[in-house]
Amino acid sequence: MGRFFDLHVNFDWKDFSLEGYSKVFYSNVIAGGNRYDPARINIARVGNQDKPLPQKYDLIHFAGFNVDSDRLALVREKGRAVEVCVSDIKDALYAGRIHQVRFFCDALRTYKVPFVFTSGASAIYEVKSPKEIAFIGEMLGFTQQAVLDSMSETASEILGDKGWL
């Protein structure tokens, strides 16, 4: 512990070390026409539950926090991690769907699926420090330590698989 990574930011963030991150990644979202980009973190965005999961991705993002147990089991079998994005949590909170996020997070714990918290920030005023994200994770039933570990150890494993560490 001690090195934190934000695997999903949507802008060129240079002074990330001020917030306590070792590195942040401008990620590639695989949805629609986008393809796997070996030079970036690839996040497969899955919306419709009828569609199959993409063949290759680094993180999987369930849009709208909709997921079924079969899919979670499949993600765990593949040894992949699920993205929990803070900006999406904010959207769900304002839309009155925070119960859906809680249900989703409960399922992650029940099925022991690896997860990674990301900020999903599009501007400097949307970024969150690791500790602030841990507070938000606490709201969803995680321990602060589990959230910090997701941004440290689980993220390190993903980066290690890509040969970036």
Partner: protein, 101 residues
């Protein structure tokens, strides 16, 4: 009538900084209170009080200790494209927060 110390309302104090692209105009306390009440619901509205808020965006907020966790989480969602709140420190005594840079 003297209330026993153990029965008095316990408070937590949150030191924060408002990071903003432009100076904040308007009723910051009112907006923050409305935001927190929107997220937590009026039936669970916490007792909060903005003790100080200077022109540089440094502020000190008091809340009852029972709703401290919820208030802290709600404050973290008080952000938009051009402003956000950065939580600096929290304490059970105001003295430990005043005087710190």
């Amino acid at each position: 009538m003297v209330i026993k110390k153990s029965l008095r309302t316990r408070f937590r104090y949150i030191k924060f900084r408002l990071l903003s692209a432009h100076p904040f105009h308007g009723d910051f306390e009112g907006e923050l209170r409305a935001h927190i009440n929107t997220l937590l619901g009026l039936s669970h509205a916490p007792s909060i009080k903005l003790l100080s808020f200077d022109s540089e965006g440094n502020g000190l907020l008091r809340c009852d200790s029972a709703s401290f966790t919820e208030v802290r989480q709600a404050m973290l969602f008080f952000y938009d494209k051009d402003y956000r709140i950065k939580l600096l420190k929290s304490s059970g005594t105001i003295g430990s927060l005043i005087g710190e840079s």
